[in-house]
Symmetry: C2
């Protein structure tokens, strides 16, 4: 007669595993000797090896019992089922590998390549690191919410970056990072932003909404803007005085205005 340790060693498992199978009802509890030790016969080794054979093939223990008792047809169906699960798990891991390889290649995390190129270009053009990070975070939010919109929207932003006068405006807006709510530069900056939006709106006259942006996302991006720039609230007030409301998706303050401007910045 075998002790639990001998049984386990014959089957190449741990003692704990054998007891686990007892608790799960996979392996019947054997007789005990007078001191309470479990005593097994050779048949238990066969049972245990059979269980391990299935378990080693990736069969969940909860299904092992049915498989041990199954006829050929049931067995085949169960095997097919388990194979599907294994295949799904493999594919999941493969997708994980691809994603993590992309992460290792990109700037920070989870950004599509266009965005990486964009923030790199910002650095080249002398935008401050803090500003670049804020911009990047905004694009993380956008990519999480509307990944399919990132491409076209990004193309527009990249073009704007290459426009010299617009770039100077952006660089100055970037100084909002440093300036408090009462900074004397703010009113003039608001004037320039308003003038640009005015022109952009006129140019887009009659055109359809280019980027149908979710209102929730716009609100979130505006909130991010306010959180990141100490002067942002003041800037929004100044724009409000000049007839504009919002930031990410800036619009005329009058409710009658139907046309909307393209997003101004993030």
């Amino acid at each position: 007669m075998l002790t639990i340790g001998q049984l386990a060693s014959y089957a190449g498992v741990t003692v704990r595993t054998v007891r686990h199978y007892h608790a799960k009802g996979l392996l019947p509890e054997p007789e005990r000797d007078r001191s309470g030790y479990r005593r097994y016969g050779a048949a238990a080794v066969v049972d245990l090896v059979r269980i391990r054979t299935l378990a080693d093939a990736g069969v969940p223990l909860s299904r092992v019992r049915e498989l041990l008792a199954a006829d050929d047809e049931e067995f085949g169906a169960a095997v097919e089922d388990i194979d599907r699960r294994l295949l799904a798990e493999i594919r999941e891991r493969q997708a994980h590998r691809e994603r993590i390889a992309q992460l290792a290649a990109g700037d920070s995390l989870a950004l599509p390549p266009e965005v990486v190129a964009y923030v790199d270009r910002m650095r080249e053009l002398g935008f401050g690191e803090r500003l670049v990070e804020i911009e990047r975070d905004s694009w993380i939010l956008i990519a999480a919410q509307m990944p399919e919109q990132v491409g076209p929207w990004m193309a527009m932003k990249q073009a704007q970056l290459e426009d010299e006068s617009l770039r100077r405006l952006y660089l100055d807006v970037g100084d909002l990072v440093d300036c408090g709510p009462d900074d004397p530069r703010l009113p003039a900056l608001a004037d320039r932003v308003a003038a640009f939006i005015e022109a952009a709106t006129a140019a887009a006259e009659g055109a359809e909404e280019e980027h149908p942006v979710n209102d929730d996302l716009v609100a979130l991006l505006d909130a991010a803007f306010v959180e990141s720039f100490p002067g942002a609230v003041r800037m929004l007030e100044l724009l409000e005085q000049r007839g504009w409301t919002g930031w990410t998706n800036i619009r005329r303050r009058t409710p009658a205005a139907g046309a909307s401007a393209p997003p101004a910045g993030c």
Copy 2:
């Protein structure tokens, strides 16, 4: 300001997940409003998306924190590490798929093809189903303990099965399944077994031990023999009287005997 539900929805996760990340220290606990609700800013959405990006790439949560804070070099090393783990898990699943496909094809479980052929041949030759199952279980034990020995040993057994007189002996030994300890057929059967072993031992004179079988395995197989056949104990006694001891690896009873016989049966 966002509630936990809004935050979760922006990041595409459940509320429970956000709280889980708080508990794990991955995401800082935000301020509470006067009724105890958590209130988040837009930055929390960015943090959460970053965490999910890593988690979705298969990074264990326990490593997410270090990766979020890692520089490029550390990040690359960690990614490599995680990729290795993913690859190992994929290979594990692939091995599982192969094994389970083999199981679906074979007789019962986990037997190498030679053994499947052997037990099929036994059925063809008229061995009783009970006996065949006992034989198969014995081979499960052998294959679990010494898989590399199964091939050569099996070849010998298959040859024995095709020897007419030997086959008759086997068939009669198989009747042990039915006969009790006092069955009148037993002494004559013991004589025949002893005669065969005598001849086999003489033929193998001077030859080296063909199959170096683990003593523990022999004991286990003998135990399985005794458990399966009610007349087995008596048979062993009768063989003992005739100068032989054991069954699986039967040997002369005298301790001086150096030569050993090939395994007689299972």
